[in-house]
Symmetry: C2
Subunit: 256 residues, 2 copies
Amino acid sequence: MHLTPFKPVTGNNLSEKVASRIEAAILSGAILPGNRLSSERELQNQFEVGRGAVREALKTLKQKGIIEIRKGVKGGVYVKKLEIDNASESLSLLLKQNKVPIADLVEFRDAVDETEVLLASIRGDKEEKKQLVEMAMQLSELNTLPAGPDIEQIKAIDREMNLLLAKMTKNFVFVWMKNTIQLSIGSYDSLLYESPKYRTQTIDNWINTAREIAAGEPLRALSLCSYHYVLLQSCLRDKQLEETGSKEVQEKKSHA
Amino acid sequence: MHLTPFKPVTGNNLSEKVASRIEAAILSGAILPGNRLSSERELQNQFEVGRGAVREALKTLKQKGIIEIRKGVKGGVYVKKLEIDNASESLSLLLKQNKVPIADLVEFRDAVDETEVLLASIRGDKEEKKQLVEMAMQLSELNTLPAGPDIEQIKAIDREMNLLLAKMTKNFVFVWMKNTIQLSIGSYDSLLYESPKYRTQTIDNWINTAREIAAGEPLRALSLCSYHYVLLQSCLRDKQLEETGSKEVQEKKSHA
DNA sequence: TCCGATTAATGGTACGATCATTTGATAAAC
DNA sequence: GTTTATCAAATGATCGTACCATTAATCGGA
């Protein structure tokens, strides 16, 4: 028999709660791709909800591309292997499932950012450029507070600067891409601000980059932007060294 | 009263048929963002299906982010304004809705392709490089057939070459991005092959690019890749000149 | 005029019934 | 014994009805 990893659910928006429960179970890896979850009637009993709610939840998950539904005996809900081809609708889903090595994402953002900096320094309004420099200076202030650096605030402004930079390109695709990547990479990027070693360097680099962009010096801004990634990769390497052997085994497993 | 732009639906997978009908009506622009579609019970009558089927269809569309559902009097299905912020889940949806000027997309792909070519020439296997060159030669052959060029086949191989190039980067994000962009930009890109003026130039450029990649000359490959976009933009400009004044009015309207 | 109660429209949920599809088992034919 | 045809059970797909909660318009009284 199956284990029943679900508990009853009550409340409003039932079908969405059911959907998020099932999705969580799948994304957490508790149920592996190709495995059968249950039939609709079984889920109905496990969650103690009506069958309509179950079916609506499954429709949502099917649209997301993470489950497959089969008819007949041995039918029911099956966890789908999420491949790049299936996921053309959703990059963020691929990222959530850790299907994408973080190094790949960093590398990609590097490529995009370089052009972004070029375009921003060419197309950005005067006001936008002014604002960018001001935000960079704010970073510096927040880093030299008497009570110590306000790291959360620094991260927030870093995020805003990134979005502003994308907006300055006047190109929707860059804005969209920045939004999506930021959601997934943000936590890694902010590592730079948690270590004192990198924080000051990163902020100084932001200030210089913002000034070159404001001055309309795209090529200088570009080389400074590249330095941001030198810092980030160095920082990530440091973190990796801290990790234990058991994590390495997990890594190999997930790559297989 | 409302018009009822739907006809009854019969057959299997009813809810998906209903969903695609509604989606088509929305994406075609027949129903504008912010407008109310109908209530569930109205849709049930219009499509002549059960209410469950309607609700399942709506769940799918809600998950896609193109509709919004409101409770109470004046509740029902409303077409959602698809903004960049909402759409972090789906770039292809933004593209389908023509929210993104094609020039933006071309520019973005240009930025990505440059790095892609660099990485491909550095990381590509020997076999992949060999295959790339062979495919480029195939393009040339297809262009000089006695019976005239086989344009459809040429487009198909162009597509395959693009995907191979992305694969050669050994970076999932580039592969995903190429897949997504290809779906939307493909039709524009293939304009290059429809005009005799550009077709031969584009193919020759592909051959040279493939050879430089195979030779491990990333910088030469890069400059050739850029030339592809010079050709594409020139070609798009030609097409735009052919368009009439009435289209220009539409353009301005959609930009407002 | 303004505020509160009423009412009607609508989504959310549940339950039950029927049909079509799929798989496995059983029986019949060779 | 093997193959083929038939049947049965599990399951998704769909429909219908009923009831509750929410929402906005309407109506009536202060």
